[in-house]
């Protein structure tokens, strides 16, 4: 049994086997590698690097993808004046 390390994935703490790569993590999470971007400790990885980059204790991984979007919703709602209620 390989030694376990703690990493952070998309802001959440997570255990992972020492020596695992970014590619292993994506497979474990059942995330298809096409159309995702991965940032390892703020460094954006090339897709080709996923299987080469090993994870170590305390690493911060961000996995991002495309979602529906035009502009962000107004988070405050406050003072959202309606000019014409039609």
């Amino acid at each position: 049994m390989a030694e376990a390390i703690q990493i952070q994935v998309n802001g959440e703490q997570r255990g992972c086997q020492a020596g695992a790569t970014v590619g292993d993590l994506l497979r474990e999470l059942a995330i298809k590698t096409e159309r995702v971007a991965v940032e390892l400790n703020l460094e954006i990885l090339d897709r080709k690097e996923f299987d080469q980059r090993g994870l170590k204790q305390g690493d911060r991984v961000e996995i991002l993808s495309f979602i529906g979007g035009g502009a962000p919703a107004n988070v405050h709602g406050r003072g959202r004046g309606v000019v014409h209620a039609e």
Binding site: A37, I63, L64, F66, G68, G69, A71, P72
Partner: protein, 257 residues
Amino acid sequence: MQNDRLIIAGREFSSRLFVGTGKYKDFAETKKAIEASGADVVTVAVRRVNITDRSKENLLDYLDPKKYTILPNTAGCYNVEDAVRYARLARAAGVSDLIKLEVLGDERTLFPDTVGLLEAARILVKEGFIVLPYTNDDPIVAQKLVDIGCPAVMPLAAPIGSGLGIRNPYNLKIIMEMIKVPIVVDAGVGTASDAALAMELGADAVLMNTAIAGAQDPIAMAEAMKYAVQAGRLAYKAGRIPRKLYATASSPIEGML
């Protein structure tokens, strides 16, 4: 209209309506609305993948990147660093160098921070991005964006999601006259006549999200927007009559009794 194609950075588009993909009920509705709009260019945002619920479907399962030009945006970014970071992530996740660059200045108005926008545009153009900047209706900033190397400029009509329509047609008109790259009127459209007006002013395209997604019947509104953009474009090309204060008879006087 057959040969009236929009060209941005060497890419040809048959539709002059660009649409966002946010705020829809579900992906099925998103897909139907986009089909009804006839748009070629669709904007998407870049966000964290939900790692706890992998059953969630992916937007791109519904929008074939071979059929549509996927235009990722930097929505929600309030400074240069974040906008540049999201643009790089979008490129890493995607298939092209296209980026709709937003650097917002304020959460209440979502107005662009044009100082930050110029700085971010400069960085991204140098990195080889095709930067389509969301900007204010300011002709001077628009020109600076072109000078930096943006192949199109996207001035707002009104605040994002406000539905107020074309708030400053004269500034937009000045931008359209001054700027030698395509102008995409982005944000603020409320209904079909707003889109038609933008096109009649001489916009090369219109980008919208909320006006369609927030309508009571988004699919019907998407279709309305398609026709509005086509009608406005045709009217612009046809050349409208001048506005005059007094009447001009349409029927001849000659031959009257």
